[in-house]
Symmetry: D2
Subunit: 284 residues, 4 copies
């Protein structure tokens, strides 16, 4: 059974040893280890991907809780092998409801086989959507929309979320959040073609280049790495010369982006794609 | 009647005056003037777009011939208003036959209303295609494929070509050729999405960025200017993660590129798009 | 005598004819004509560079005033040949005083042979600097710093400014202002190396790329064109690994940027460099 | 004592466990672990940075030899703490002798405190330089200059090289070579400013952007990562507008590049900079 362990702590010294000791003690094979630092924030992180006898998963979880309590490291243990259950999603939104709405409909209709466990917003704009689909809603935003990132992670921990879906959630996750859910558990919808248009106004940038093709990209977020390499799905549409920018944006937002998110999340929850080292690979 | 005059000469001094004198003498209104220099080559160029009483077109042509003989400038007079006749195309190729084949079929079937007046190659690879469609074939390449650019322009002049179509023609036109047929008369098929992937291996570059969307771009060539701003049509296709590069290239070459060229040329010969200053605009 | 005529108007039809008629009537030779459009703003522009018998300059100016009144075009006539007089500068500033201070000192000390005719700010931060050097100060900013661009141009017209010097002036000039003073009359100091770091935070961008070289660029502003091709002067400094960003910025702002602006303006007012078509060339 | 262990093998499964077991068994603390894959080549790699009691270094070396023999992994153990001895350099060259010459002179004059243990070329052009300074010369190139990369690494292993210096060595090291000497042991001189000009013709590229600043970059090579983040030293020079490209290249090659390499290598052998995770940091 594949298991991913992430650990976040304040320095790079005490990070690896206790976890490595523990997993080798349980007879696991280490498939991958990555350590990152983010020196401006004095935050260090490790991802360990192991092969473990499925019967020893609970033992591993208990051991990691013990290591966490002893070392003050923030440790999470997760397996992408869901057995009988459906993956649990946290759908994060800000202003635009269309991609989240399309995802909730696709889940309702059985197209995406997942649990919409909770919805999180840094603004209240999409609250009604959560109510319409009977999904618990949590607002993590202060008055100006600044999110409480720790609260967001705490909510995901508490509800045993498998995948965090950023459905036009308009804030950057801090590196510590990315690391805590590293290993292919954060899926983002970007409203432009990556890696060419990474900015916050990809429609405007493509338009000012006089492009006639516009696109959206569904990708895993990997801390410290360029988003171009972790693409799950991209979809595009073509416009005639002279189409006004606001009409282009309308088509993108109402049609192309929702489609892109739904197909991207479907690929992830169906296990068709996964993150292998720093790249997306297809299930063999 | 809109008329485009291009002039190429060895310096920037004697270039504008004789032409400007002549067109104002004929009662024309000047809509646009552009002058370019390309100092490494000691070649200067001017494009003049005028509104002229259609009855005086022959008078203008004669006057320009006279100016050309007197000043040694290389001058061309052209109008994009085709009246009853069909635009005449020179289709230029190197190795890949698919886009030219698709264009010749679309012309045969009446989808693209143009005359395939001649085919030009710097290699003989596509000669059979010209024979199959009964289009006169001219080889302008030396043994190593280096084209005789002056011969290419002379052929287009002699056959009164309206549009030069670069259908995966793998050589750069020199600035002087671009200037001689400036004003929206050279249409290129690029096998990648512009402006993001301008290089000679756009499939490889997009693949090494792990993109899942590939595209082709049909655009006007404008001397000295970035190709991103003169896009006539773009088409794309999406692939699943893990598709091998050679399969991606095959799909692009056999399906997407031919489609892109045909639709781009159709837009041009139908007058749906035109070059206005340095940009493509839709016919109002 | 070289003379530059710029004209700005609301469409591209009536723009060229009256000016071209007039200059050819005066026996001038046309060295360069450029026309631009900026369709979003419905503003069109023409630059004409001519060789004129110096004795007929006043005649040209009068004729251009007459054309302007008749056609409602906004026309300016300017010659880069200063004869006995010193070029007149408008020094534009926002927050940072160092580059303007260095320029005023270099003028005072005879290193830069120019008249500091006026200082213009969209903020009042540098007003004291104008007073210290007895240069007339004009504030063109509204309460929030938004500049009155038309007032800025009116001030430059009224004071017969030769060169507009943007000395860390933090607002974009609109295209119409750039066109009115086109032809190498607007000199900008950018606090990063162009074309690599064109953004508004070039120190931050270079730092996040872990660069150890930082630079500033003095360049002509040319409407509609990338700033990378009109570089007058660049200067750089090197830092050791680990130097904090604020220390890097301090060195750049207090030492490198002022030096860069002074040397750039000196090259322009001494006529060592000039704009030839779209490029900076050295005086032969 | 800081020790770096690198291991290269054919898959990602058996890579981490034996090494991690061994180092934890010796009481070492793990400071950093990175694993990489390069799936096109089916080569996997791990870098482990540990803190070890200096007295146990030999024990670690013996254990790693044993692991290597047992597992067929290619393992190297290295410490950047040189105690009394001077770091041993392999200086790799192709055509241009200037940077290597400057480095050999700086070593001779005591400016760079290192042993020029061997020189390696994929061409014989710089052989005379090795003879002049009495440095053993090895040619690893076939007739067309294609290097035998395995031979290069074998030479470095055999001569107990600390740092591989690429002094205008014009071939790419394959990922497996980079991994074998990972951890800040490969220093490259690039003849352009990184990250802006990464290509093989950086002078040409900067010149076609009309830049007036040219530079060189000395950096660590880190497999799979962009070279922009591992900069050790950069130096620049400024040229006047209109300087011909060949004169610019001459100044860069004869003056700026040699200076850049010497100062970069000096920083490395003096321990002023080191690689910490994926970044260059200054010694505190």
């Amino acid at each position: 059974m594949q298991v991913v362990i992430t650990a976040v702590g304040p320095d790079h010294r005490g990070l690896a040893d206790p976890i490595v000791h523990c997993v080798t003690g349980l007879g696991a094979n280490i498939s991958e280890i990555q350590m990152y630092d983010h020196d401006e924030e004095c935050v260090f992180s490790m991802l360990t991907r192991i092969d473990l006898d499925a019967k020893r998963l609970d033992e591993l979880r208990d051991a990691m809780v013990e290591v966490s309590q002893r070392t003050k490291l923030s440790i999470r243990t997760w397996t992408p092998e869901f057995q009988e259950r459906r993956p649990r999603l946290a759908i994060c939104v800000t202003y635009r409801p269309e991609p989240a709405l399309a995802l909730l409909r696709a889940i309702r209709d059985g197209q995406v086989k997942a649990e919409p466990t909770l919805m999180i917003g840094n603004r209240d704009k999409c609250r009604g959507l959560a109510e319409q689909f009977d999904v618990p809603w949590f607002s993590v935003g202060r008055g100006d929309g600044t999110p409480n990132d720790d609260q967001m992670i705490a909510l995901c921990d508490e509800h045993e979320i498998d995948f965090i879906i950023l459905a036009r959630y308009m804030r950057l996750l801090p590196p510590s959040s990315c690391w805590k859910y590293a290993g292919g558990r954060i899926v983002n919808l970007h409203h432009g073609l990556l890696p060419s248009f990474p900015g916050i106004q990809p429609y405007h940038e493509a338009h000012s280049s006089r492009m006639l093709t516009y696109g959206a990209t569904c990708h895993f977020i990997v801390p410290e790495l360029d988003a171009g390499n972790q693409i799950i799905y991209q979809s595009t549409f073509t416009v005639p010369p002279g189409m006004p920018l606001d009409e282009i944006i309308r088509r993108g937002q109402e049609d192309n982006e929702p489609h892109c998110l739904v197909e991207g999340v479907r690929r992830v929850v169906d296990g068709e794609v996964r993150l292998h080292f720093h790249r997306v690979v297809a299930r063999k």
